[in-house]
Symmetry: C2
């Protein structure tokens, strides 16, 4: 993911410094391991995966009626619209949310959290939060948390610009 290949002469993009490289390798490992670990906890304890939880959780926070257009929801959870569409279909089949065309403009689809979906989020949250604490938050110093928060915010801002699908 990072790392210069042994050594080569000609091409010189700005290689990573030692410090950058070791930081990046750590991040890369985190990218590989964190999702699996959080997936495993949720799957085991609640029967849903991380992305499904994230979708339900974000939807549960939309005011005032836990309802949201697919394209807005995509903005809240990241990833592609087709991925979201697949996941939402699965969640609908399991009764955690339902979809309705937007009365205002039939091109939009509204995703609406059901009571069962809300119950699922409420039931799954404690275990998930505990895992997030254990694997990430509680191992950070206040300064690190601040830094991470800033990184995250920036990421969220950049995301606005993107388009996929």
């Amino acid at each position: 993911m990072a790392d210069r290949p042994a050594r080569t002469a000609a091409e010189s993009p700005r290689w990573l410094t030692e410090k950058e490289q070791s930081a990046w390798i750590g991040v890369a490992l985190m990218l590989v391991e964190l999702p699996s670990a959080l997936d495993a906890q949720l799957e085991r304890d609640s029967g849903i995966n991380l992305f499904e939880y994230f979708v339900l959780s974000r939807l549960s926070m939309t005011e005032p009626d836990r309802t949201c257009r697919m394209s807005e929801l995509r903005g809240l959870v990241g990833g592609s619209l087709s991925r979201l569409s697949n996941v939402v279909k699965r969640l609908e089949q399991r009764g955690f949310l339902r979809r309705e065309p937007d009365p205002t403009d039939g091109r939009y689809t509204m995703a609406i959290l059901t009571d069962a979906g809300m119950a699922m989020v409420v039931a799954a949250a404690p275990g998930h939060v505990a895992a997030v604490r254990e694997l990430v938050i509680d191992s950070l110093t206040p300064d690190q948390l601040t830094a991470l928060g800033a990184i995250g915010e920036q990421r969220m801002r950049e995301r606005q610009a993107d388009q996929r699908d």
Copy 2:
């Protein structure tokens, strides 16, 4: 992924504070978006995905002979051994590495980077490094980089303990 569900009374695990929550949502978004973005660049420019690149890259750094047991390599790249096995099989079929049983102990499999594999890493690295800079490193302050590095390192240490498969 984080976030308390509206509000509930009884169960009180240590919920995330406002600050923790927004930091975590940012990280969660990063977990969703970064791999796709890096995957896309590598796939487009070099025909391999992020995890494949990571495997080849880490193998290219093993001294002195770019050779490594599967189980050691798994430690270098994270993830499960079966995932690694699948990826290595694909990379072998494409000629980027080969596998041989360890002469010392037939239970081990050695993964050996071929010249073609080395050439692939060398060719793919500049574009990948540029993407890593653009999407991560260059948008961080020195403090943030330090923090991220610390998180990563810790992750690497914890990983040692894990066992999967």
